[in-house]
C-alpha cells in the first residue's frame, strides 16, 4: 500500500514537474516552430499542404496507371542502397522535365528518402544522392538549376511504417513536389 502511494505520488509529481517545465522554456520553442512553419513562409505552407495531398502519387505508384499522368507530384522508387533511377521512370522524368522546360517560372522540390535500415545521417546523405539523381535527370530533360531544389529526409519520413521489405520498398523514394509558379 505504502509503495503504491509513493508510486502514484511520484507519477503525479512528474506530471506536475513536466507541466511546470514546459511552461518555461519548452513550449516557447514549440511555438517558435509553429511560427516558422506557419506564418514564416506562406508560400511554403501552401506547398506543404499540396505536398501532403500527394496521395495521388502514392496511389499512383501502387496502381501504376496515374503515375505518369500526375504532373503536380510523382514518386520515384529506388532499389536498396541504390541511387540510380530505374528505366520504368523514364516517362515520369520526361513529363516533368518537359513541363519545367516549357514553363520557366515553375519550380519543383525533390525530396529524397531512404528505408529505415542503417545510421540516420548516412541515410540523409543517401537520400540526397537520390534527389540529386532525379535532379540530374530533369536537367537533361531541359529543366534549369534555378527551378530545382533538393532536400533529404533520410529515413525520418517513411510512408509505410512496417519493418520488412514490403514497407522499405515504398520508403526508398524521391518525391517530386511542384512548388507552383513564382
Amino acid at each position: 500500500m505504502n509503495r503504491l502511494l509513493a508510486f502514484v505520488s511520484v507519477v503525479l509529481l512528474s506530471v506536475v514537474l513536466v507541466g511546470c517545465a514546459s511552461h518555461k522554456g519548452a513550449v516557447k520553442s514549440a511555438t517558435d516552430i509553429s511560427t516558422t512553419g506557419g506564418s514564416g513562409s506562406g508560400a511554403y505552407t501552401g506547398t506543404s499542404s499540396a505536398g501532403v495531398g500527394t496521395g495521388s502519387a502514392l496511389d499512383g505508384s501502387s496502381s501504376g496507371a496515374s503515375r505518369s499522368e500526375n504532373l503536380t507530384s510523382a514518386t520515384i522508387y529506388f532499389d536498396f542502397d541504390k541511387v540510380e533511377i530505374r528505366p520504368e521512370y523514364a516517362s515520369v522524368i520526361a513529363a516533368h522535365g518537359a513541363r519545367l522546360a516549357k514553363d520557366r517560372s515553375l519550380k519543383m522540390r525533390l525530396e529524397g528518402n531512404t528505408d529505415e535500415r542503417g545510421s540516420s545521417e548516412y541515410n540523409v546523405a543517401l537520400g540526397e544522392r537520390r534527389a540529386q539523381s532525379v535532379k540530374r535527370a530533369l536537367l537533361l530533360q531541359g529543366a534549369t538549376e534555378a527551378q530545382l531544389s533538393t532536400v533529404s529526409y533520410g529515413a525520418e519520413r517513411p510512408v509505410a511504417d512496417g519493418h520488412s521489405e514490403e514497407s522499405w520498398s515504398q520508403n526508398r523514394r524521391v518525391e517530386i513536389v511542384t512548388l507552383g509558379t513564382r
Binding site: 502514484v8 514546459s22 519548452a26 516552430i33 546523405a125 543517401l126
Partner: protein
C-alpha cells in the same frame, strides 16, 4: 508548487484505490533483457521516513544498480529485516540471504518541501561501514539525489564513477505517416522525468550535448529544409548555426564546446565533414572526397575526428587529424558496414552501428586495433552513445514494433531496455556529467 504538491499528495490516497496500472502512467520502463553471470548481490532496504515521500529513494537506487549489470538487487520480499539505522543492521541475517552489501537510509523532512537524505553502505562480509552520507534534497530533486547516491555506491564498490545522475536526450515520434509529431525530449538517465524541449511537425534528428550539459545541438527540418540549431535548455533560446542549401547534419560539439563538427553538402549533393567555429561562424573543411563523409565524432583531445565514409564502396569508419592536408586513415575492417562512430570518454573505444547478414547491431571497436565486438542483439539497432563514465552504451532498437531505447554494458554482459509505450523513440544521446542542475 508547494501547495500544489500538498494537494496532490492529498489526493494520492484517493487515486491509489483507482484502477490505474503502473504501465498506464510510466513514460518509460526499464527491463533487463540479459543478465550478467556474476552480478554483485546488494540489498537496498526501503529508507525510513515519517513523511509521505514522492520518491521511493531506495527503489530508484536499486533500479539504477540493477540496470548497470554489475549488481543484482535483493527483492524486498526476500529481506529478513528492514533496518533503517546502523545499530539495527544484523549482518548474520544478510549473510543468510547471500547479500554482499547492504544499503540503509532515512529521508528526514525538514519543512517547506525540503529533505535530508541519509544513507549508509555496509560490507556484509566484514561488517564494515563503507559510506555514510547526508544529502540535502527538495521535492523537485529527490530523484536526482537518489541517482547521486547510486553514483556514490557504484563508485565505492566498482571503483569507477557512476553515471546515474545524468540525463538523456532523445527524439520521440508519434502519429501516422501523414500527420507526425516529432519531439525532442530530455529525461533522467533512467528515462524518468521526461520533458519536451522542442516539438515540430517536421523531423528532428541527431541531438548532441554540449560538454557543459546546458545546450543541445540538433537537426531540424522545419521549413522543409535541414538546419542545425543550438538550443540553450534553461531558456529555450535557439540559435540557427547552419542553414546552407542541401544537407546540414550530424552536429557534434568539440570537447571544448567552442566548435561543432558537421556534415554539409555541396551544390552537387556531395557530403563532407566540416568544423564550424561557433564564435566566428566560420567553417573549416575537413574532408574532400566524392564519397559520403558524415557522422563526425571528436577524439577526446579535440585534435582529430572519426567519421563514416563510403569511399571504399561501403560505409566504414575513418579517422582524420585536424591539421592541414591530413589524410584520413581507415579504422574499421571487420564487416561490410560500420557507421556512426561515437568515441568513449577515454578515447580507447568507439561505439558503431555494424551490419552483419542483414541485421544492424551496436558494436564496440578498439580505437588502436580496429578489433570489434558486437554488444546488442536486435535487428535494427542504431545511434550508439556513451555514458560519461564510458561503462555503458545507450542506443535505439527497432524491429519490435516501435523504437525503444536500450543500454549495453561495454563488456557485453548486459543489455537493459527503456521502452516507450506509445511513441517511437530514437536517436538517444547521453549527457555529459554535470556538476549541478
Amino acid at each position: 508548487m508547494n501547495r500544489l504538491t500538498k494537494t496532490l499528495l492529498g489526493c494520492v490516497a484517493a487515486l491509489a484505490f483507482m484502477a490505474c496500472t503502473p504501465s498506464a502512467w510510466a513514460q518509460l520502463t526499464i527491463q533487463i533483457t540479459h543478465g550478467v553471470s556474476a552480478p554483485i548481490p546488494i540489498g537496498l532496504v526501503p529508507f525510513g521516513s515519517d513523511a509521505l515521500l514522492p520518491v521511493d529513494v531506495a527503489g530508484v537506487i536499486n533500479s539504477d544498480l540493477d540496470r548497470s549489470g554489475r549488481f543484482a538487487g535483493l527483492a524486498r520480499s526476500n529481506m529478513l529485516q528492514t533496518p533503517t539505522t546502523a545499530a539495527a543492521v544484523d549482518f548474520a541475517q544478510w549473510r543468510l540471504v547471500k547479500t554482499d552489501y547492504v544499503v540503509i537510509g532515512r529521508v528526514i523532512a525538514s519543512g517547506k518541501g525540503t529533505y535530508r537524505v541519509e544513507f549508509e553502505l555496509f560490507n556484509v562480509v566484514t561488517a564494515e561501514r563503507l559510506l555514510g552520507f547526508a544529502l540535502p534534497a527538495t521535492v523537485k530533486n529527490l530523484r536526482l539525489v537518489a541517482h547521486q547516491a547510486s553514483d556514490m555506491i557504484y563508485e565505492k564498490i566498482v571503483g569507477v564513477p557512476g553515471a546515474f545522475a545524468t540525463q538523456i536526450a532523445y527524439v520521440s515520434v508519434q502519429g501516422t505517416p501523414r500527420s507526425r509529431r516529432w519531439r525532442l525530449v530530455i529525461a533522467d538517465s533512467d528515462g524518468e522525468m521526461p520533458r519536451t524541449v522542442l516539438e515540430s511537425k517536421f523531423p528532428i534528428m541527431s541531438p548532441s550535448w554540449a560538454p557543459d550539459g546546458e545546450r543541445l545541438a540538433y537537426v531540424s527540418f522545419e521549413g522543409e529544409a535541414s538546419a542545425v540549431y543550438v538550443q540553450t535548455l534553461l531558456t529555450g533560446a535557439r540559435d540557427r548555426v547552419s542553414a546552407r542549401a542541401g544537407i546540414n547534419g550530424a552536429p557534434a560539439f568539440s570537447p571544448d564546446g567552442k566548435r561543432l563538427a558537421l556534415a554539409l553538402s555541396q551544390p552537387d549533393g556531395n557530403v563532407d565533414v566540416f568544423v564550424l567555429d561557433l564564435a566566428t561562424r566560420t567553417t573549416l573543411r575537413v574532408t574532400d572526397d566524392p564519397a559520403i563523409d558524415t557522422e563526425p565524432s571528436w577524439a577526446p583531445d579535440g585534435r582529430s575526428l572519426y567519421f563514416t565514409s563510403d569511399r571504399s564502396g561501403r560505409p566504414q569508419i575513418y579517422k582524420i587529424a585536424l591539421t592541414p592536408n591530413a589524410q584520413p586513415q581507415r579504422v574499421t575492417f571487420e564487416g561490410n558496414y560500420n557507421a556512426r562512430p561515437r568515441v568513449a570518454p577515454d578515447g580507447s573505444l568507439l561505439a558503431v552501428v555494424t551490419q552483419d547478414q542483414g541485421v544492424y547491431r551496436i558494436a564496440s571497436v578498439e580505437a588502436a586495433t580496429g578489433r570489434s565486438r558486437v554488444l546488442s542483439s536486435g535487428r535494427l539497432d542504431e545511434a550508439p552513445s556513451f555514458a560519461p563514465n564510458g561503462q555503458t552504451i545507450l542506443y535505439s532498437a527497432r524491429g519490435a514494433g516501435h523504437g525503444v531505447l536500450e543500454t549495453a554494458a561495454i563488456d557485453g554482459s548486459v543489455t537493459s531496455r527503456i521502452s516507450a509505450l506509445d511513441a517511437d523513440v530514437r536517436e538517444p544521446a547521453w549527457s555529459p556529467r554535470v556538476g549541478s542542475r
